[in-house]
């Protein structure tokens, strides 16, 4: 279905159902859950929209970490690690870090 940016309108339950052939109550329940978690907001008469609730990092923070990563990669390369090794280290780290959060 693509990626939604803050401010985008979610497809109506009817559209989702028409495309996926699933129970409309399931879709409505999912939308209610999203609304409860603050990720979307329903505007009466208009539809449901993605909130501006997700914190997006500011450009300065972004640049700071990008520079840190670049220095780390230079050091790894100097130690003899190739692109595949670096990617493997990265993937493992992401997986371990973000998998912990799921109950």
């Amino acid at each position: 279905m693509g990626i939604l940016q803050p401010g985008d309108q979610l497809p109506t339950a009817r559209e989702v159902v028409a495309k996926l052939a699933i129970n409309p109550n399931t879709v409505l329940k999912a939308y209610r859950d999203l609304e409860r978690e603050g990720l979307v907001a329903a505007r009466p008469g208009q539809g449901t929209f993605v909130s501006h609730g997700l914190d997006s990092p500011d450009p300065a923070t972004f640049a700071r970490f990008a520079a840190q990563l670049s220095r780390w990669m230079s050091a790894a390369q100097a130690a003899g690690l190739g692109p595949e090794d670096i990617e493997a280290i990265y993937r493992t780290a992401v997986r371990d870090r973000f998998a912990e959060g799921v109950a």
Binding site: A13, V17, A21, N23, N25, V27, L28
Partner: protein, 307 residues
Amino acid sequence: MNPDRDVTPTIETFGLGRRYGRRWALRDCTLTLPQGHVIGLVGPNGAGKTTLLHIVAGLLEPTTGDVRVLGASARDLRTLSRIGFVAQDKPLYPRFTVEDMLRMGGWLNPGWDRASALERLAGLDIPLEQRCGSLSGGQRAQVALAIALGKRPDLLLLDEPVANLDPLARRQFMQVLLEHVAATGMTVVLSSHLLADLERVWDYLVLMSASRIQLSAPTDELLHEHRVLTGPPSKVGAIAAAHAVVQSSMADRQATLLIRAGGPVHDPDWSARPASLEEIVLAYMRTPLAGAGPVLSLVGSPLRGSR
């Protein structure tokens, strides 16, 4: 879906039974089904699903018991105008064209929505001048559905609508049906002896086996309540004392139980996982609670919360 919705049960049966000669096609059927759901009526062939649907549609009179449809008698003319029925094999008049069938809908039903039916059929590339006798299975199903939906019913009954359809036709049929449900909040009762493809369509399940109701509950509740436990055969008794064991299978070192949990399972010797809808249905179908009466709705049981 709509909090202001009328809370009259869509279908209520009280000890419903139907006998043909000496054989009971339906027995001790007591159900209360809510509006605003897509209700699955599951069971093997000969379980009594068609009989139940025919009684609700006013085509058959019960031998015993009573049925209320949308709060009124099933044989009432007013009720008849509020329900739609797509019978097994989707009966149509073979010499009528698709256009004739749509006109028929208008002649026989007040408040007929011709425009939507036309739009829907046009979107499916079903030619209006084609005779119903020469339509493909999928097209017949769509035409039969269009006629039922044209009435704008509050309750739609479908008897094995997708059993003989190829996967694409099945998918298209469900898309059309569910889009209409999403748009109007119509209640649907859909019978099937197949489980696959329909699990994500139903949000309420009625399981029939051996002419009786074995189960009647929202699918949410069923999935919350049921677990598959694997563990030592020696401890099966303890489990059976605290929970309802629906099905058990014993190997040498391991017992596998499908239970309806009466509370949380604390014993670390048992590993628990959620049961799939298919496992639940198969378990109840294999061990019908004949004579024990129907399993009443599982709403309000003690085990709640996340899995």
